[in-house]
Symmetry: C4
Subunit: 222 residues, 4 copies
């Protein structure tokens, strides 16, 4: 059990560097968490610590109500939202939150990103939907995420006027979704600046998504 | 006293690297200063020295009229504006000036950045206001900064056709405000390219700002 | 023969770093391949392996039907398209595929990039054309690339709603075309945001392209 | 004399890294040259050599007709334009050419960048003007540069549909002008996307430019 938590601590710490590498965060604003497999626990970033000072040792372990179990710092101020997701979506093993630029630009207008790229059909299988405006401090954000993503193909939700939350079977999948969300939010934004992107037929979106989710991730290709 | 100045020299020198890291500056155009606690002194960047040649030793110590007390180079050509702020806003411990791209794009139109992101409500608590057009060479710029920010929640002001000045309780807080100012100026710019961002109700802005300024910065979370 | 394959493995592995350096790819989405000179073989990126884990040893060798000849991983899911190009365009020695941002923004609208820059006349000799929408899984993508580029001066094609494919006499030339394609797609996009770029007369495009393709690449200048 | 040329070789080689650092170039497209003080010689980048392979030793020494005096590679294909500038503007000690993105976006429309930022008044003292469309291969480009910049305050000219050339008293000043040109071209572009930048009165532009060119560069401030 300690070995599992140690592994998750390292994974969560390392994955924050991907947020930096892909320019999804400034200062201390975004965070990654992971569910501890087989336990009612999650591992998350400490609040307000710069990305280049993150280590496995200063990650925070919380229960699924967001209460600290291990850790010297306070956990991310977004911990309640992460914890809500883990309590209500048992298939989710990782959650990421960022204020990445283009995703937030759509979120500030409360507008979904339409599915007009084959890579978007692959990863998201649909538009990237918008969740409600919600204040921090209670379950509003978590509930908004879960209500929007439950039953939706997209692993990403744009929370209105706020930012993006992504989910995945593990933390790496959630980080990948965060990276891809910003990438397609940027490309579709740019495309729309000079006209209207051509739609992709629903049957083609379905076909691309089915193939990608079931064929592309074959074991031998990691 | 020498130990304090040495600490501030190091802090000011190091914080300039954050301006580089976040792409807020090109060539030698931006600068950070800090008040020396308990003294009528400030520490500021030398004029025209490249960022990768800055060291604690070549920082310039000035009095609060901007006159050099210690240092081989001339101080930043913006020293008079920094000094004016320290003279008139005793709670300010750090000042940053940049020509960061998106902030300047708003400043060139003389247009405030509206508060349409929760992260902006957190950090700025309001729109980011515009200060007057002012020429370098006397107190015009300093007075424009102080007149605009005194009594305003925002720690950042867009000086018309010029750039951005930010203030903070210390130099790190002022640098954070400069980083966040450019980040939200960019996101709101992009959002407005394709429509109108949704407003956030004033009561929600107030609530977010109050919480962030009073709860988020709890001691144990640095 | 082994020495040749080893050289091509190294070249293909190294060239992927250029895709990263020029921000043409995120996560694992783009790929480079090269024909093995004198053999009916190609070398290509393994599927789903991060760019900083690519080595000459984990490149995949395939025949020109895309069947794996050497390699532990599955080859890129775009291998069929690369293989189709090598089978049908014998002068092509390298192929690159990316979802680079500005190229995809044009591709999502199904719009060619007009030739309004002298650097574009040099490298592309014409507009960068659009190929058909095509689903992955059969020869549709490969056929779309070949049908669009055969007889066209441009070494780059924007596949509608998808991304960009470039070709070259070798893999380095194809990578250069991918870098230049994104560069001119970005510049022309930005130029059109504020008005209409001025056209370049066809005779001048012809003259620039002829000179660049025949004079600029003189032996002593590599 | 050899010591002088060696110093200029190193300076020109090193300054190319600034073009890379500020993202003014892709692949091998931009170049820096310097006049050898007291000689009818210039030092310039070799043609087609990647930026990370540039060394003092592989720089090319040419006479002011662009003929190679020392060097194994062919000189930059833009050498004739650089040489023309040195022949006709004796006060110029450095020339830079790039296809930097935002500058080219203005150049493709044949539109000057208006002087709406104080930093632009400082460095350029006026709008950044547009030079004629000109084909490579004779003196057309050099003549276009000289005819546009002679008697103009701006050290930068946007050559229509092509790119930017900058001049300076030495190569470092020309590189600074190239960096600042792209910076203000970007900021003014962005500002104009959402409205019209406010003009700066001509008298204020004059005053800013006079002060910057005569006071800011004081000896002790390098």
């Amino acid at each position: 059990m300690n070995a599992t938590i140690d592994r998750i601590r390292r994974q969560v710490s390392d994955l924050h560097q991907e947020l930096v590498r892909y320019n999804l965060v400034v200062w201390t604003a975004g965070n990654v968490s992971a569910r501890v497999p087989g336990e009612d626990l999650l591992v998350i970033k400490p609040s307000g610590v710069p990305y280049d000072e993150l280590t496995p040792a200063n990650m925070i372990v919380c229960d699924l109500d967001g209460k600290v179990v291990e850790g010297e710092h306070a956990p991310s101020s977004d911990t309640a939202a992460h914890a809500y997701v883990y309590r209500h979506l048992p298939e989710v093993g990782g959650v990421v939150h960022t204020h990445s630029t283009y995703s937030c630009a759509w979120a500030a207008r409360g507008e979904a990103v339409p599915c007009v790229l084959t890579a978007m059909a692959d990863e998201f299988g649909a538009e990237i939907p918008v969740g409600p405006f919600a204040l921090i401090g209670d379950d509003s954000i978590g509930r908004g995420i879960v209500d929007t993503l439950r039953g939706h193909r997209s692993p990403a939700v744009l929370m209105q006027n706020h930012g993006v939350f992504t989910i995945g079977k593990d933390a790496e999948a959630a980080v990948k979704a965060a990276v891809m969300c910003e990438d397609v939010a940027r490309t579709v934004h740019l495309s729309r600046q000079l006209g209207e992107p051509l739609p992709i037929a629903q049957a083609d979106i379905d076909s691309l998504n089915h193939r990608y989710q079931n064929v592309y991730g074959q074991p031998q290709a990691r």
